[in-house]
Symmetry: C2
Subunit: 375 residues, 2 copies
C-alpha cells in the first residue's frame, strides 16, 4: 500500500533531497560546507522575500519562536499576541516564561484577527514593544491578513513578528514588503525537509530592539549568529545533513520560482476544499489557508475515527484537531512535498472511509471535483 | 580517492544508519514513531549508564549545555567551572550570560584539573550550586578524572554537571556510579549520527535543583520534557530523521556492548598515539583521551600545513588546534564511526604528508606500529 503523508508538517521529503542527505558525512568547518550553508541562506532569503538577515537554528520551530522573544525584549516589556489557535498561544506562553507582559487578542478558533483591533490596542498601549502573530495558524488552518496588520504595525515603534512556520511556501508572504521584522519558520513544512531546523529573518528595526534587549540568551543569540555569518560560519556545530537537504530544497523551490510554488499549493488547497464540499462536507476556517485545510467531521461521526480508518486501511495520514477541536475536525495539508497525486489519492481514500463510516453523499463527486480543478 | 573523516565530530555515519534516515518521512505523533523514540531513549540510558532521565533536544551540544544551566540555577547563583580548553570555557560563558557567578578553575591547556582543587573550592564556597566540567575536553584532547571529582562533589549540595559531548562512547563513563547529576551529550561524536541532537541526563538531585531554579526557560525546559515523556511524546516537533538514526546507532552500540565499544576506541587511540610516537612525534595532552588525540607538529612545521596536505592530497580530514593551539597541534579522532581502517589509512597518509613537508623520521614505523597494535 503506497503511503500518503497529508499532515501539516512533517510533509513528504522528496527522494532526491533524502538521497542528498544520505551521502557520507562531511565536516562543517570547511569551504565545501561553507558554500552549501551560504547557498541555503541566500536561497531562503528569496523564499522569505527579504534582503535582511535569515538565521538558521538547530532547533524546532519553538526554538526560533523563543529566539524572536529573547533577542528583542526585556523582562517587564509588553507585547500584543494574537491568540486564535494553539500556536498563537505558544508565543504568549514563551513571553510569560521570560517575564514579558502579554496583551492577548483573543480570536475565535477558525477566525482571523481584525487588523483594526490591533491598531486600536497599539494606540491604547503606545509602549507595546511588539506584535506577535501567525501567518497560517496551523491548528485552525486559518491564514491571517499579515499584509494589512503590517501596514498598521510599521507606523509604530513596535516590532512585527510573524510565525510563518506552516505558511511559508504555500500562503503568500512578503517579509520586507509587508513590514515584517522577524519571520519565524521551521524546516518540515513548506521547505519540505525533515524537522530539526528553524529560521528567523531579522530586519533593521529588529536589530535596534536587539541592542536594547536585556533578556538573557546564549544558544539563540542573534548577535552570535550575525558575528559567525560574517565569516560564513555558524556559532555552534551546524546540523550538517539537514542543511544539505535545505540547500537542495531551496534550490528546487527557487528553480520553480516561489510565486509559482505558492500558486501550485493554492490550487491544491482550493481543489481539496471544493472536493470536500462536493462530498457535502464543510470547511472549518472562515479564512482558509493554502498550507492546510481543516474539515468539519459530518454530524455523528468522530473526526478521529475518519483519521484512524484513513491511516490503517488506506495509508493516508491526516492530522486531527487539537485541544477543543479534537474529534471535531480533520486536517489535510497542501504544503511542501505534498503534490497532485497526494491530493487525489487522499480524496479517493476519504470517500471510501466516509462510505465505510456510514456517511451519505454522492460518492465519486469529491474525487471528480479534485481531478477537474487540479492543474 | 577514498575519504577518511578523522575529525572529533562529526564522525563518519555508518551507511546502514544513513540509509535508515533516508527512508520516506513519517509523522511524529504516531505509535510507530513513539516506539522509535522510546527505544532510542532506553538505548541512550544504557550508554550513559543511568537509570534516571535522559532527554533528547533538537539542538547542538551547546543547547544542552544551556539546558543544564537554565534548568538548575537562578541569577546570582555561584558555580565552579573547570576551564582547561574551549569547551570548559563555554560553560562559563553561558553561565555569565544568564547572570550566574563563575568561580573558574583554570587548568593549563592539555592538563586535567586536580580533584582536590575542586574539593578545596567547595569547602571555601559552601554556597556553590554546581560544579561544571568536561569528560573529554575536545580542544586539548584531554580526559578528566570524572570519577574522582564525582567522589568529592557527591558529598556536597552542589550538582555535578559533566559535558560528555565528545567523550561518551570512547572514554569510560558511568553516569550513576560516578555521581553525575547532569551529563550533556551531542549526537555527532560517539553516537555516530549527524549533528542536530543533544542530550541531558537528569538525576534525582538535579530534579530538586530544577524545583528551585528561577532562570527563565521554555524551549529547554526539563519539566516540559518530563511531562511529555510520561506520555511517550516530545514537547515540540521531534527531529524525526535524526532520532531514527539515533535509534539505529544506539542499537548497534548496545548490540556490541558499550564496554566493548569503549575498549575498541581505547585500542584505536593507543595505536594512534604509539604510531605517532614511532614517527618521533609527541602527544600534546598530559592525560590523553580515547576519543581524540592531539599531536604536536614537529619543530618548523605548521600543523595547519599538515592538515591541508592531508585533506587535499590524501583525502584525510584531521582537525586543527583551536585558539592558542592553532598551527601548533593537529587532532585525529577515534570516536563513533571511525574504525581500524580509518586509523591505519590516516597514519599512512600522515607519513606521506610529513615526508613531503621535509620532516625526517623512520618512514614506515608509524604505520607498522598502528597495524601491530590494532586489534
Amino acid at each position: 500500500m503506497k503511503k500518503y503523508l497529508m499532515t501539516p508538517g512533517p510533509t513528504p521529503v522528496p527522494e532526491e533531497i533524502r538521497n542528498e542527505m544520505a551521502k557520507p558525512m562531511i565536516h562543517h568547518r570547511t569551504k565545501e560546507y561553507q558554500a552549501i550553508f551560504n547557498d541555503a541562506t541566500e536561497g531562503l532569503k528569496k523564499i522569505f522575500k527579504t534582503s535582511g538577515d535569515v538565521f538558521t537554528f538547530t532547533a524546532s520551530g519553538t526554538g526560533a519562536m523563543e529566539a524572536s522573544i529573547v533577542n528583542c525584549l526585556s523582562a517587564g516589556d509588553k507585547i500584543i499576541v494574537v491568540r486564535g489557535g494553539k500556536f498563537g498561544e505558544r508565543f504568549g506562553d514563551i513571553a510569560k516564561a521570560f517575564g514579558v507582559e502579554v496583551i492577548g487578542v483573543d480570536v475565535e478558533w477558525g477566525d482571523a484577527p481584525k487588523p483594526e483591533v490591533i491598531g486600536d490596542l497599539l494606540k491604547k498601549h503606545p509602549d507595546v514593544k511588539g506584535v506577535y502573530t501567525t501567518l497560517c495558524e496551523t491548528s485552525t488552518a486559518t491564514v491571517y491578513d499579515i499584509k494589512a496588520i503590517g501596514e498598521i504595525v510599521r507606523k509604530t515603534n513596535a516590532l512585527f513578528v510573524v510565525d510563518v512556520i506552516s505558511g511559508l511556501g504555500a500562503d503568500k508572504f512578503e517579509n520586507d514588503a509587508w513590514g515584517v521584522d522577524i519571520a519565524v519558520c521551521g524546516s518540515q513544512k513548506g521547505l519540505m525537509i525533515p524537522p530539526g531546523l528553524s529560521f528567523c529573518s531579522v530586519s533593521q528595526k529588529a536589530w535596534k530592539a536587539v541592542e536594547e534587549s536585556k533578556l538573557p540568551k546564549f544558544y539563540f543569540s542573534f548577535k552570535k549568529y550575525k558575528k559567525a555569518y560574517l565569516n560564513t560560519d555558524t556559532p555552534f556545530t551546524s546540523a550538517i545533513t539537514l542543511v544539505i537537504g535545505l540547500k537542495k530544497a531551496v534550490e528546487t523551490i527557487n528553480a520553480e520560482g516561489i510565486d509559482k510554488v505558492i500558486a501550485r499549493h493554492e490550487n491544491m488547497a482550493e481543489a481539496f476544499r471544493e472536493s470536500c464540499k462536493a462530498m457535502g462536507l464543510t470547511i472549518f476556517s472562515r479564512r482558509p489557508s493554502s498550507a492546510v485545510t481543516g474539515v468539519n467531521a459530518p454530524a455523528g461521526i468522530n473526526a478521529d475515527d475518519i483519521i484512524k480508518l484513513l491511516k490503517t486501511e488506506f495509508g493516508v495520514t491526516f492530522a486531527g484537531g487539537q485541544d477543543d477541536l479534537k474529534g471535531k475536525i480533520f486536517r489535510g495539508a497542501h504544503m511542501g512535498g505534498i503534490d497532485r497525486e497526494h491530493t487525489v489519492e487522499s480524496m479517493k481514500a476519504l470517500e471510501k472511509a466516509l462510505v465505510k463510516l456510514g456517511y451519505k453523499f454522492s460518492v465519486g463527486k469529491g474525487v471528480e471535483t479534485a481531478e477537474k480543478m487540479l492543474k
